[in-house]
Symmetry: C2
Subunit: 151 residues, 2 copies
């Protein structure tokens, strides 16, 4: 009922086959509606076989970025701007400078976000440990603090 979930981070099992909307939907856990919505918003532009949408490897790659952007709390508009950075291709010097400045803004935003995530994680892990200790002191010993994940 479910094939190669998520972003397909599993090594390099990404075959280059073109995909239908349904395949993409299942692979990414999205609805058809959602994928078409991304197209309406200009985030995807699949080719057509007659009337049917055909998603290339590149479309799929963009969808990976879209999903990650979403998980990071970016709006579709922001994600679009972001995607446009990547297919600037061999643009004019001025355009590349502009793209670079946008990229740097993005980088700074993400660095802030990284701080936020790390700080929140720290607090939550502390919280987790507190509870575990509290529970241990009060008899009922069944839970131990989460194992640390070394970055």
């Amino acid at each position: 009922m479910q094939a190669t979930i998520g972003t397909g981070a599993t090594g390099w099992e990404a075959d280059d086959r073109n995909r239908s909307i349904g395949e993409l939907a299942e692979e990414f856990g999205l609805t058809h509606r959602t994928i078409r919505h991304y197209e309406d918003e200009g985030l995807l532009s699949p080719t057509r076989d007659g009337q049917t949408r055909v998603y290339s490897h590149r479309d799929r790659a963009r969808l990976v970025l879209i999903c990650r952007g979403k998980r990071l709390g970016f709006s579709l508009a922001e994600i679009k701007e972001f995607l446009n950075l990547y297919d600037t291709g061999d643009a004019q010097i001025e355009q590349m400078r502009y793209a670079q400045s946008l990229a740097r803004q993005r980088i700074e935003a993400l660095e802030r976000q990284l701080q936020d995530v790390q700080q929140t994680l720290e607090e939550l892990r502390h919280f987790d440990i507190q509870i575990s200790e509290h529970l241990r002191r009060n008899g009922t010993t069944e839970t131990q603090p989460m194992e640390e994940k070394l970055s």
Copy 2:
């Protein structure tokens, strides 16, 4: 026109004074409307002086968490659930277990998010460097890649 912006991460300049909605709004860069909205949604519960809202140190602390949660892309409902973890206080064992399980879910979500942020940062920095090199090769030498930030 602007005092102690952001979360006030500046050491320990957080004085314990009670605040009006206007002060809080300016400090956090929010509107009155927004802060009242958070109250409507049960994220804040300031006391009253007559009809006027009075925000304690604790309310302010919660607002810090709310803002961070927002930056991390959580919904108000999620943030509320999150906040409730913290003021579980000396609850019953069962409630603490529950809070802990929620906290752990949060931790896992944030660990995933951490991965996302790091990966995106990596890609963007790579992108930045690519552009810089391209620009360098094509004469116009004015920009150098962003300095690396050691985590």
